[in-house]
């Protein structure tokens, strides 16, 4: 049933540069320390978060509540290890915090919490909430004549939730061209393929018909992400949806497109060896 997008094929074949491998080492170091974590959902997301935080968002890590900052919400909160890696690397909090992931006194839980983690705009984890909050943030910018932009990262399984489509209608009604939805389309949710659980196709047409300007790309192609994200809104007067074709578990051969790596508990010695081969020593 799934249309094979050329972007999906290039996502599978896409090689990762040293910064992408470094960020994966941070993510997997947290998983090793905590003995748990959503590995697959974080690894599919890394380049999307990387380009946002490295190249697109107008943010100041030393002043995370700067009123002029761009807002970014990780609506698929279970992908938080990717976000934590970027926030730590960009200086929102010390890198050493990553080792405490899910610990009793850590600021970093299994889902990101507003007020606990500098740089986190909203507590997420329950799926289907982020886009509506983003609509509120974007509408507030419009009403207050502020220039910040709002980016919301959604999972493909997450958009099973009806509330996402309520939010999409609301965003289109208000013509929120200061709102960008990025969909991490790795085509694999917790149980198995999105096509099996609840088919999403034709996904681009869905977003288009809900009033969004739609872009599709290989979500691991850092250059393509930069190009598209620097040209938002794609169409003035419309919210933008960027469908990022990704690979769940990208960068770890054992984890790629493998639902068993959606959430991982303790990593075995052989798994750790395989990770070192894939992303380098950590």
């Amino acid at each position: 049933m799934t249309r094979i997008s050329p972007h999906a094929e290039t996502a599978l074949a896409c090689t990762l540069d040293e910064r992408s491998l470094y960020l994966r080492r941070l993510v997997l170091g947290s998983v090793r320390s905590a003995g748990r974590g959503h590995v697959g959902p974080a690894l599919s997301l890394i380049e999307m978060v990387r380009v946002l935080y490295d190249d697109v968002l107008r943010i100041d890590p030393s002043n995370p509540r700067d009123p002029t900052r761009d807002r970014a919400i990780l609506s698929k909160g279970h992908g938080c290890l990717a976000l934590y890696a970027l926030l730590a690397d960009r200086g929102f909090f010390p890198l050493s915090e990553l080792d405490g992931f899910c610990g009793p006194d850590s600021i970093l839980g299994g889902h990101p919490e507003y007020g606990m983690v500098p740089g986190v705009e909203a507590s997420t984890g329950a799926l289907g909430h982020g886009l509506s909050i983003g609509v509120g943030l974007a509408l507030a910018a419009r009403m207050r004549e502020r220039t910040y932009r709002t980016f919301v990262l959604l999972g493909d399984g997450e958009i099973n939730e009806g509330s996402v489509w309520e939010a999409a209608m609301g965003a289109a009604k208000h013509g929120l061209d200061n709102l960008v939805a990025l969909i991490d389309y790795n085509k694999l949710q917790s149980y198995g393929p999105t096509d099996y659980v609840l088919p999403l196709e034709p996904l681009a047409d869905k977003w288009r018909s809900f009033g969004f300007a739609v872009q599709e790309l290989n979500g691991h192609d850092v250059g393509a992400l930069r190009t598209v994200l620097k040209q938002v809104p794609a169409v003035p007067g419309k919210p933008t949806a960027i469908i990022c074709h990704t690979v769940k578990g990208k960068g770890l051969p054992a984890a790629e497109s493998n639902a068993d790596w959606h959430h991982k508990n303790k990593l075995t010695d052989s798994e750790l060896d395989a990770i070192r081969v894939a992303v380098g020593d950590f």
Partner: protein, 319 residues
Amino acid sequence: MRNTAMNMVHKLAARDERVLYIGSDPGAGTLRAMSKEFPKRHLIEGISEAHIIGMSAGLAMEGFVPYVNTIATFLTRRCYEQVAVDLCLHNLPVRLIANGGGLVYAPLGPTHQAIEDIAIMRALPNMTVVCPCDADEAARLMGQTLDWTGPIYIRLGKGGDAVVSKAEHGFEIGKAILMRPPGDVVMITTGIMLQRALAAADLLAAQGIRAGILHMHTVKPLDTKALLQAIRGIRLVATLEEHVPSGGLGSAVAETLIDKLGSGLPAMLRLSLPDRFMHNYGSQDSLLKKHGLSADAIATSIARALPASYTSSPQLHST
């Protein structure tokens, strides 16, 4: 009560530019005057309660004070996770104005009857729950909602409820109002049960039973101090609510008394709706009567319970 509360949103909007009205798909003409005067702050967002709550959270994060308005059941059951996570977890100043609390929509059946709303809203950390008794009290409440920290659930009755609140009593969120001094019994009420309690107190007085009334318009945070004062020397505490027995006013009072008194608890009578959905229609009044919440039935239940309480816990309640 509803029109008064709505008009107060308009007045608050005139006073404070942070105020927004957000309706789902309200009746035609709702807040028409506000929509003309402040069109950008009068938002109609469709039958999408989950989205509306999340959107309101986003607006509140940016400093607005959204007043979200729809029918009570849709504002509680439909979007409970959004209320819990987006509003309460973030402790945002969104006001939920719930039309038709209790059995106001009796003719429309159980999908429209908010019989457990107090319980589920009260269970959420950071949520404030207020049930005004009449239009005047609703107006006094609304005037205090601008700067209250965190979300508020406002349970409205229907239009035309008898006005029994008094301006001289004032109004403060979280402060109960002693409407009649405690005697043999004290009735604790919330919402429009106050009207029935007043009538029941007159009926009891005719039988020589002195009945006090403590109006607990704010169910959360519960006014513990006023409650403990009101039960001094009484023989029976009777709670009255248009709500199922689980988790509402009666539960809140019982929990508080247990927590504060430990032993030596007063005899208690919890008058409420039964623990079931209503399958009768008619009117709010007819359903309340059917379930023992008319003034007559309340007085009878209290008079019947009172002698028993004399024997079951004879020397109570000095706190």
